[in-house]
Symmetry: C2
Subunit: 405 residues, 2 copies
């Protein structure tokens, strides 16, 4: 008799964005005259860069001609893309990454979840709190999290590392040993960045405890301060303990175009086994690569024109972030993030809960954001706004918030 994976039944409902959406719809239905602005969702709005569009048109034409048609891609991804990554993302920052340490994928979300395939079930994971929910949910699906405790909103076998204003949203090293540590910097949702010194402590911890760090660097392109490392491999010894996952979603607007990559250095071993070879086997068996056309689009992001154009998109969003930060600060809010990340994390005023502030903001400014508590219990009392809206909407939303008082 067939049996399902019972771990799925332990998952609590994933209601954050659906509840946000429902409340916004209900408000609009009750107030058809009001113009509601969303600064809630982490999806980009700017169109793809002209260099990317041009590259995709050229690749589409190649696929229409027998002489230039491409069938199955190489398992790791096309070398034209991997060599751009190795040179411009890593070598240019003093980090040597070999071409066969880079695995092109359909995006960081897939990789963040799928990477667990090569880990034993018998590992304890540690995550930041608040956190992007994919790390925990995918581990829960494969039985690594124990049971979900509704009262504490936590899983019994997961180590949670609170990230709050008091520790600048970079957690303390865990007291109990953690086998797999998920870190995301620049951080979603808090917008915090980790300095090289802060990250080095984590690398040292992982080396000392033979732990693995899964480092989600999806927001790397938003880094603006000099003392913030762009890759965990800028830290000493990281190649022996860290996997780095990157995305084209936020640095080039590929949320609907789907491209990312994972780096697994060959020095990274466990019990003498190379994790690079395990992941290669996983990719060769359960994946058939990102589309040729999309890999060419990714290559164009690294061209001179592509870099200038995608940089301009990032600056557009970061200008929104600046508007949000400065407006909120001048209105008396305590504000975090938004300097090296497209997320602004604010402390809710007057001791309101995150959801109370959500309702208050919607009712009084017609602005939709995301309650911090939706990302984990330590997010309670915080609230997330994103810089991914249009400039006009961002300015209008912040004017309303300032007037709201």
């Amino acid at each position: 008799m067939f049996k399902i994976n019972e771990n799925y039944l332990k998952l609590p409902g994933s209601y954050l964005f659906s509840t946000v959406g429902r409340k916004a719809r209900e408000y609009k239905a009750a107030h058809p005259d009001k113009n509601v602005i969303s600064l809630g969702i982490g999806d980009v709005t700017q169109p793809l860069a002209p260099a990317v569009i041009q590259a995709m048109h050229a690749a589409v034409d190649e696929m229409g001609q027998a002489a230039t048609f491409r069938g199955y891609a190489p398992d790791l991804g096309y070398e034209f893309l991997r060599s751009e990554i190795a040179n411009k993302d890593y070598k240019a920052r003093g980090v040597e990454i070999a071409l066969d340490e880079i695995f092109i994928s359909d995006g960081a979300k897939s990789d963040c979840g799928n990477i667990g395939d090569i880990f034993s079930e018998d590992n304890r994971i540690a995550v930041c709190d608040p956190v992007y929910p994919v790390y925990v949910d995918t581990n829960a699906m494969s039985g690594r999290c124990g049971d979900y405790i509704k009262e504490s909103e936590r899983w019994s076998n997961v180590t949670y590392m609170p990230c709050v204003a008091e520790n600048n949203f970079v957690p303390a090293l865990p007291e109990e040993a953690a086998d797999v540590i998920y870190l995301c910097y620049p951080n979603n949702p808090t917008g915090a960045a980790a300095t090289k010194e802060q990250l080095q402590k984590w690398v040292d911890y992982a080396l000392a405890h033979q732990s693995i760090i899964v480092f989600d660097a999806a927001y790397e392109a938003y880094i603006h301060e000099d003392n913030i490392p762009h890759s965990i491999y800028e830290c000493e010894g990281a190649k022996k303990c860290a996997i780095e996952i990157r995305s084209f979603s936020k640095n080039a607007g590929f949320t609907g175009t789907r491209l990312g990559f994972t780096v697994i250095p060959k020095e990274l071993t466990a019990g003498g086994v190379s994790l690079n070879s395990l992941w290669a086997r996983r990719c060769g068996t359960k994946f058939n690569g990102a589309p040729y056309i999309i890999q060419r689009a990714g290559e164009a992001v690294y061209s001179e024109a592509g870099r200038a154009q995608t940089r301009a998109q990032i600056e557009y969003y970061m200008n929104n972030a600046k508007v949000i930060r400065e407006s909120l600060t001048s209105a008396g809010y305590e504000v975090f993030g938004g300097v090296n990340a497209p997320y602004i994390w604010l402390r809710t005023p007057k001791g309101m809960t995150s959801w109370d502030f959500f309702d208050y903001l919607l009712a009084n400014a017609q602005v939709v954001g995301t309650p911090g508590s939706g990302f984990g219990p330590s997010g309670e009392g915080y609230f997330r706004l994103t810089a991914f809206g249009s400039y006009e909407n961002t300015v209008e939303a912040l004017d309303r918030i300032k007037k709201m008082g």
Copy 2:
């Protein structure tokens, strides 16, 4: 201390196509004057259809304009594509599939592997022998196959169902109960098709034993005979026991473009739990959809022009299949497949092993095929040729084989 998934270490090397490639390279190096023709690999060679190319250009342009730009896709895939599938793949054949029973993916290989995520480890799988290796390898990775026995080339906890000429390459029902049964018709590698009566027996077996059938219909578009079902849902009761996986790789040449889908009817439950809802949760958590541009390409396959053009590609390949079948038959070979599938499966002459015949064919006709034993022990004494080459190469290869005697 971090621990790897030890199941990966049990996997035998996947040497079939690498050994085929190495032997072909060595032969070419030793005989630089010879023109070696490959009819070995299951990859398409015809360029994408003009209707598909046109749709992708249009979609690329949409992505370059703010007004028409698309970010994250809906979790299940765009409705414009799912409704074409529901109407033209299913409703047109008398099968009602709801839009939320269709999940768009990046290809059938990913789905064939990932579907195991929602199955308990504690299921016994049954596969055909010979078989496409992904079903077994992905189950072995998640610990469902026991240990690999080198002598028998089989896993200790897997039920193998021999498919040989004597049973027309459609296996007998297993004597021991199987929980998850992988079936692929039209079949890779044997080229066999299953009639509705044959498939109905499997559906009846699954219903009686509360088993699940994972039905891989990647080669559905190659069906040419009337009594062959295009979907397992043409069988009575299949919605209660079968998952169907389809691909655009072989019906529209998308091997390098990546698109597929999985159908999980809402009637399919286990212990009262809907598998559709489990898979929806899996897709929403570990996947972010196929690119918008590629989903538009898929939609174009269903347009009037797209259907005519992709049908012409299939007929081109099937004409190659006819050339291979008729030439081999006239040369005295015992030949199977190639009528409802792009694969021709032949019995090796004079009792040669599959690898002996590989060497013989390469040395005497400079043609590369795939040894049947590479797909499983019951493939020993068989050999696979594919119809995916050019017409000219196919004719030339078969002329040589005929002359070889």
